[in-house]
């Protein structure tokens, strides 16, 4: 069986499911951030897979999917930078970063 679009989509679905499990079950804020990164990677993989296989003019490459993949990567970089700044700020205040203990925005 040759590898087609659906194989990539199933891999991406598995990545997304693992990311959701990490986001929901993990306690440490950095682990939650890793789950979000997995989820974003799954989305970008979908974009790129569709840009290679998607229905359009046959034989002509489409690059829109790859452009959106780049946007996803840039957004992930921005999100990681700001999230880690917030995590470190919280760590300075409370000396732990367990998400289930962060129930107030004040000290």
């Amino acid at each position: 069986m040759t590898v087609g679009l659906q194989h990539y989509l199933v891999v991406s679905a598995a990545l997304a499911a693992l990311g959701i499990i990490a986001m929901v079950s993990r306690r440490n804020a950095i682990n939650i951030l890793m789950g979000i990164e997995l989820l974003l990677n799954a989305a970008a993989l979908n974009f790129v897979a569709f840009s290679r296989f998607g229905a359009g003019r046959p034989g002509l490459p489409h690059f829109e999917g790859q452009v959106f993949g780049i946007f996803v990567i840039v957004l992930a970089a921005a999100e990681a930078a700001i999230a880690l700044a917030i995590i470190i700020a919280i760590f300075h205040h409370r000396s732990n970063i367990n998400a289930d203990e962060l129930q107030s925005m004040r000290r």
Binding site: T2, G4, H7, L15, G19, S25, N41, I70, A85
Partner: protein
């Protein structure tokens, strides 16, 4: 099975097995390094899909940038020899059920569709992507550069203010 198919399975395994380690490992540093393998696997899949520019960007930005940031975060916020990132055990089962449910629904939706099978021809991608970014997608491109600038300033401000309050 062609060579490309063999590589697909290798890269898919390289994605998913470490991703499971990221999710289920109890050690935060193991999670971070497993994330490295996952991101490398995704970069390999991009290369297989003919997205050479994106594959290199993935390696540079994700592995070279985001992963190093995350490792910094791990080192800053944990005692290095006691890195137990325990999950809330009562939530674990529910989370696993939710994840399996999401996967089953997505996979069923994917496999229920008759997708176009012929891949497009591979071409060099940098030049067309550059042209698209500066013509059709100019506005998103400019907005995302402003966003990056804001994030740069914002991260510095968030980090700096807390230090000053601690003094």
């Amino acid at each position: 099975m062609s060579t490309a198919d063999v590589f697909f399975w290798i890269f898919a395994a390289l994605c998913l097995v470490p991703a499971a380690v990221v999710v289920f490992s109890r050690n935060l540093v193991y999670s971070a390094f497993a994330l490295l393998a996952t991101l490398a696997g995704v970069a390999g899949l991009y290369a297989l899909l003919g997205a050479d520019f994106l594959a290199v960007t993935q390696v540079l930005v994700y592995i070279g940038g985001i992963l190093v940031l995350i490792l910094f975060g791990v080192m800053f916020t944990q005692k290095v020899y006691d890195l137990k990132a325990e999950a809330m055990s009562f939530k674990r089962v529910r989370a696993a059920v939710l994840g399996v449910l999401v996967f089953v629904v997505l996979a069923a939706a994917v496999l229920g569709v008759d997708w176009p099978q012929a891949p497009r021809d591979m071409q060099p991608t940098s030049a067309p992507i550059g042209n698209l970014l500066l013509s059709e997608y100019l506005l998103p491109f400019e907005m995302i550069s402003v966003l990056l600038l804001v994030v740069l300033v914002g991260a510095v401000v968030v980090g700096k203010k807390e230090v000053r309050e601690d003094e």
